[in-house]
Subunit: 411 residues, 2 copies
Amino acid sequence: MKTVTCTAPVNIAVIKYWGKRDTELILPTNSSLSVTLSQDILHSKTTISAAKEYTQDRLWLNGKEEDITKNKRMHNCFRETRAIRKAMEDKAASEGNPIEPLSTYHLHVCSENNFPTAAGLASSASGLAALVFTLAQLFELTISTSEVSRIARQGSGSACRSLFGGFVAWEMGQKEDGSDSVAVQVAPESHWPELEALICVVSDAKKGTSSTAGMQSTIKTSTLMKERINQIVPARMEAMKKAILERDFQTFAELTMRDSNQFHAVCLDTYPPIFYMNDTSRAIIQLIHEYNASSPDGKLKAAYTYDAGPNAVIYAPKEHMPEIIQLIGHYFPSNKEPSEFFADPYNVTQGTKLGQDFIPKTHTNFNEKVIPVQPAGSVSRLLHTKVHDGPRVLSEADSLLNAEGLPKRLA
Amino acid sequence: MKTVTCTAPVNIAVIKYWGKRDTELILPTNSSLSVTLSQDILHSKTTISAAKEYTQDRLWLNGKEEDITKNKRMHNCFRETRAIRKAMEDKAASEGNPIEPLSTYHLHVCSENNFPTAAGLASSASGLAALVFTLAQLFELTISTSEVSRIARQGSGSACRSLFGGFVAWEMGQKEDGSDSVAVQVAPESHWPELEALICVVSDAKKGTSSTAGMQSTIKTSTLMKERINQIVPARMEAMKKAILERDFQTFAELTMRDSNQFHAVCLDTYPPIFYMNDTSRAIIQLIHEYNASSPDGKLKAAYTYDAGPNAVIYAPKEHMPEIIQLIGHYFPSNKEPSEFFADPYNVTQGTKLGQDFIPKTHTNFNEKVIPVQPAGSVSRLLHTKVHDGPRVLSEADSLLNAEGLPKRLA
């Protein structure tokens, strides 16, 4: 029995992926670019074991067994990685140095997120990235990380961006077979360590449209989408890469906010329209614009972005994070115990009460009435995190499977 | 002393006006098309008197005197109509048949809306239309209604569309002096009397961006706006005119909803983004789409549209209005006396309790859980109205000014 355990991070796009040109292979209609967030705060963890004795492939997700044959996308990832392993085994055999025929063994897969799936925090991206990265480790595939990302892409489009740390572009590619639709690292996390993120988990009663269904509806019905795909995103990709390479937060911030808004604009231009942001999401946007507008030197200090849900992710340089957390903490008061509400592994608030000194001292023109203080609990959780590394290989002690290849914990 | 009193209606666009190519003359970046709603329900009423004895132009708006010299746009309308009157007077004098030199008299203007200005119900459109129409009557201008609309346009862009009843296009025009940027009637109200409207006044704490500032910000910053202006609206204008002429509610409804959504999409694509709809607005949208989707014959039965505010206007054929009112009444319960909440001059609910039979009997697939029942008061008022006529000249008895040329009522 061979067992490997890995974790993969969540990534949050600053140039958004929305629309597939091939739904089977998951090939996008435009390139996208994301920032990889620390696995210390959010990650998917996957253990895979291969054993001759196993009689079938089995899968446990967050402690519950699932029927792996019904998960076509995951199945694609199995098939692709096994095929590469098989080629390696055949080559090794033909050279007289046979290796273990892992490609013929059944697999046990156990995967967990350290955050609730329902929170809408890109769990499928980190989950599929962890799966494919772990498969690549288990099979000892001698392929580049971009090649691994090509396989992960077929599991969940944005998963390909979770194969790298730092700043990651998913180049849409041109080929029909998708072989050039892969993720590449624009810059590692060490390039711009000052960049941090604050995730505001926004409470929402309603379940939004799934992104798989939503994006194809936009492609089919939005009359503005073509302009975005053909003209706007290509130019923004180049500008965003340059901004990252130059650590130019002004351009990074403006492009991030503009692209988030445009993604939600094409959702609204979809017929019937798709809504992901709610009144709380919009209040955060207005607050961040007021915070930036009252910045003493006229410079942007924070940028919001929203995926296919109401949660905000606020990117900001480390130096501004304490005041941003105070600001959000004031206008979006908690109805929970502080420790339940705010995860502050970097201790930025240094023991001060959240939301107490909410107007930054230097922001003399800050309009306190930009939004009313929102009902307690409108934001249910704040997570402070930062740009960090790509998938990690963990030790045997971290395995989610026991010696029998069964989950140590069940839900 | 010569006195004239007129009313002008509210119009609600189905192809939206958003963006000026000339802010001075109020020339739009695209044509637009609207439906004129009944003055029985909503109107602006204006009395203007001219007298040799008056020592200055005076203006009372909703019972409060305002400084007319500070209202540049209104001033433009005075100047233009006086100039035409002056030319008529000169011509008459030169022909030996002098007419009263009204163009040299000061004017007293008294204007009232029969609905709260703050409700965001296009009060500036009806108000300026009433002003200019009354001036044209007072001065007995021998110009076409489209010419009157050209003048009203300079007071408030969409006011030009309130000069006609029925279905009205504001053709953007091409000339720099704006002489071809006028309203024309696509069809009179008698053409499609079955079309009715339900106005849902949505409660909203925050004051949105003024449309004057908002539209110029969109023009300057939205990267999607060019496509809308140059490609999408021109095609939609033609399709909408055809739909109206053919009384094709299916096309009318789909275009109306798509264009409302696209207008709000370009607002969201503006930097910083502009939001006019709130969670209540969006809940109404989702409800209408569910109502349409569950329609037994697969046909659209209602169409929503939103201007620069959270209020919904629902257009629907008369036959569906009773069930639409029950539907809205159920999901958006009132916290007021029924008569304060629902204006039903056409008695469509015929005494049944609002919201009681909210699922149309024929809608067997209607998903009751599409939205939760909203907090009481989310919609503060329902007004049932229909397509109706253009400005009306009233009798002396309706004058807002007394024999001394002063308001009969002050606020």
